[in-house]
Point group: D2
Chain length 325, copies 4
Amino acid sequence: MEDKYIGVLTSGGDASGMNAAIRAVTRSAICNGFKVKGIYRGYEGLINDEIREFTTQDVSNIIQRGGTILKTARSDEFMTKEGRKKAFEVMQKEKIWALVVIGGNGSLSGARIFAEEYNVPCVGLPGTIDNDLYGTDFTIGYDTALNTIVECVDKIRDTATSHDRIFFVEVMGRDAGFLAQNSAIASGAEAAIIPEDQTDVDQLETFISRGFRKTKNSSIVIVSESPKGGGAMHYADRVRREYPQYNVRVTVLGHLQRGGSPSAADRILASRLGEAAIQALIQGQRNIMVGVRNSEIVYVPFVEAIRKDKPLDRSLIKLLNELSI
Amino acid sequence: MEDKYIGVLTSGGDASGMNAAIRAVTRSAICNGFKVKGIYRGYEGLINDEIREFTTQDVSNIIQRGGTILKTARSDEFMTKEGRKKAFEVMQKEKIWALVVIGGNGSLSGARIFAEEYNVPCVGLPGTIDNDLYGTDFTIGYDTALNTIVECVDKIRDTATSHDRIFFVEVMGRDAGFLAQNSAIASGAEAAIIPEDQTDVDQLETFISRGFRKTKNSSIVIVSESPKGGGAMHYADRVRREYPQYNVRVTVLGHLQRGGSPSAADRILASRLGEAAIQALIQGQRNIMVGVRNSEIVYVPFVEAIRKDKPLDRSLIKLLNELSI
Amino acid sequence: MEDKYIGVLTSGGDASGMNAAIRAVTRSAICNGFKVKGIYRGYEGLINDEIREFTTQDVSNIIQRGGTILKTARSDEFMTKEGRKKAFEVMQKEKIWALVVIGGNGSLSGARIFAEEYNVPCVGLPGTIDNDLYGTDFTIGYDTALNTIVECVDKIRDTATSHDRIFFVEVMGRDAGFLAQNSAIASGAEAAIIPEDQTDVDQLETFISRGFRKTKNSSIVIVSESPKGGGAMHYADRVRREYPQYNVRVTVLGHLQRGGSPSAADRILASRLGEAAIQALIQGQRNIMVGVRNSEIVYVPFVEAIRKDKPLDRSLIKLLNELSI
Amino acid sequence: MEDKYIGVLTSGGDASGMNAAIRAVTRSAICNGFKVKGIYRGYEGLINDEIREFTTQDVSNIIQRGGTILKTARSDEFMTKEGRKKAFEVMQKEKIWALVVIGGNGSLSGARIFAEEYNVPCVGLPGTIDNDLYGTDFTIGYDTALNTIVECVDKIRDTATSHDRIFFVEVMGRDAGFLAQNSAIASGAEAAIIPEDQTDVDQLETFISRGFRKTKNSSIVIVSESPKGGGAMHYADRVRREYPQYNVRVTVLGHLQRGGSPSAADRILASRLGEAAIQALIQGQRNIMVGVRNSEIVYVPFVEAIRKDKPLDRSLIKLLNELSI
């Protein structure tokens, strides 16, 4: 098996815990008799042969680091047949027989097509702060991002409370409200405006009509980023226009949600999933994402994982309403 | 229902997230038409009538605070029949018809006896950093303690790496190795010495014989506190005696593991469980602990919850061994 | 002296460490035989008599909290002669003979006029994250804000490095570049764009022409908020237009810079200044701000403190240039 | 000047900010036309030729890291004439004409002897968490350690307050009380027991007789490590014996005080001092430590810097007493 390399890459938006996953994949592979090659800059680096062998030492002292030592990128070329052909040729040249891809929706979609076209064993790990991959309870980076948001909102609340203001805080999450809804509960926010609710009701109106300033002098509303809704700025403008008596401020948390040292939960999740990816390859599985359901490792076909409709537990909406009285 | 009070107390060792639980119990109760009284200093304060009514404002701005605004204590008097009689009389006087008890093993054992003797509706919430309550995947405070430990070990690793040393870091957990085993994985430690393994093998010997200094210049071993094993100091002394070539240091993390602002996960857990406690009372449940299994709320009879044998996922032991190569 | 009250208030933008200052003023006053009254919501609360007596316990357990327990506000009414007249009458009614005002430029300007008009002993404490008060090396809240910014930029750098991007990060500071310049040095940023340099050179041009992408794949530029310069968004737009080959992102840190638990340095500074304010009153000083120069307590006349030209140590500009090669 | 190398090493106990200093020395040297070699494991590595050239990239992305990438050690061999002879020979072989030594008392003492014996330009940077070097207001690592202690005590206070307990918390500082006294003020502790006061009064007796439990239900006492005093355990034992009515706990913070990401102040200090070290060498200075006094760079002869009597500002003792009422 001396020339049987497993390649590992990170792709798409970075997420905290990706390094812990790279470490787990590398060490678990070596521990099981494989060799490992790190592929830099995602599919782009696979196409351009930015690849080098990894030993156990190469992944020392990285479990606590944010970002990804393999760097990441979005690759337009890999979206083309020619790009994937080049990628496959590089894999053959580098003697990489299997690929572990750590990334989100787009990255796993790419892996799926590639695996089908070239019959390459591909295993995906869910690496995204958005938690929007179907078939896994949690994605790598989600818990860290959630904690980062909550720490930021704790700080903003100091100011909100001191000044009797309404703050609209915009958080990431793409089309999913996991970060927004859960950070709202965890930070004691008064409301969350999330994409899952966007079609049917006017969430701002609901918030206002619940009388948010009756017994409170300050309020924090978490707003999910979203092309449809318009984001925090949009809602702040509406309040300024429709309820000029309120003192409104906006904070868009932005990219600081992606980085930082991963939380304990994300490091453990990444470690477990990384090991399970190697087990999956040993068992002959391919074209699957490794996830965790009810604390157990599960293998989810790519085609399932990238479904767009991962449900948000709607009891959390009721919970937030009850606890923000 | 105007005079139907629900009493809430925290008991035993404090855990981060207890305040979030107090807030959720209070607001959910009020939201469902009940009134709430806060009982100070655990059962001790119940016996001595250290009680006052709580409004929604009394629990404002506490979700992010460590410790417990209700304070906590261990009560010898409540262990006696006379003590519990006094407690019941105070409850009648204060018009408290039901009790929500937030605490660990000992606290729920007390609630169980009390509930049986006086037919009082008692609902328990698992509040302990040790995660050793049966029937719930997580206890309130565990995730925060785990993160605190991991942040401390990250700092210690800076020194360990800079000096080529072995560090034995002792963590809490009473008779359970959840904190030790999981913090070892999350911090990239080289080994964990836990009570669950204590009887059969010499864990230190295993660690040494795995050749911990072969490719590494520094090592961190997480040791669970434990009357049997002797703790970190004991193992450090053994290494000094048996392997004098190693440069050994000990850190006992101590009480800083209990406090601090709760993690997002602990705040959400505490919020969910607090609301579920009120639902349980509405449904007429009693003598149960509210827990979470596979992300779902569950109701666990006290007698089950306080069993001593909550199992540690043994695949985590294999995982640590593989990833610390 | 039983009816000789010292009044304490916080005014203007909140800053971390204000609570530590309130605690120090209160306890030092009581320790020296005075009584203390807390005035809520700044000058607004002084005018409206939102005042209550403070004991040593009222300021227990607040040294570690961000924001201000006295709340703060900007008061238009206090800007008028009538408003100040009302304020003085309330002071007489409440038997407050002296005022300690914790705040920034505007707040101390108000105190100055008030002290002159009514011959009231007023002592100011520099409470602002901007560090823009003349005559003191540091203001309360500056060190905390600096650390918050640096922690955020550390997280953003994880993403910048992983993606090979240029980030423009906008920080607070009003017309002063202290936060921007020093956070740039501390976070290892590639450049800072500050108001102090704004008139003479095109700082973006300088940054670009220094060849910021020669040996580096990612860059972080800290931009001071500033009505003149246009902020981070302005510079990002310029880069997108003038250098479209670069991948640019913007983060505006916003209000999270104000809050959070104060740093050790801010707590110590606030404690020292709070005590010194009481000493100043005992010595018969008035119409001065208490500051710290070269580690020593100094008393600065208000008229000096609110000068607009506190100099930035220009060697820091050279330092950043040298270290970001 | 192409073969004129400046060597940089870290020695003694590690301190947070050493990496920022290494980065500043390296980049400032290169910026001024020198070449740089990194010497691993302190004087030990100098003797054993563990040396390699450093470019600006070698010190990229390290400013935020605790510990030291150059590693550190205590060297017995360098204490001998033979050891220093070897060290000098290695310097000649490696074409290192000048040495920048980052470390504490012992490290600078070694540099002093070496510089005198071999007429080698040696410049020291104060790198120690203890802040005990004479002639500089602050040492690299002190501010970070202070913040780490204060964050830990904040957590311990959550538990102390919840349980009505006295905590003795032992902190580092060797023979100096800077960390203990200042962390006590910053954490709102009730007392500090420091070496500077040890000879004349019974500090515990003073603390008790001030009636520490009169109006408070919990207390935190910071105890400086110290061979003379006996440390936190000693004082806790005395309280248990002499005042058994109190509920006492001990936490020894230990090595976690050394590590962690450096504070903003430490990064800026390290950056300034690192640049100043190169300026000193250019100016022909040698046998001096670079320090900071009243915000200005100063050059302190080694023999001054290593004096044992850096004074503690005794007004801080009075301040703590006043504010802990």
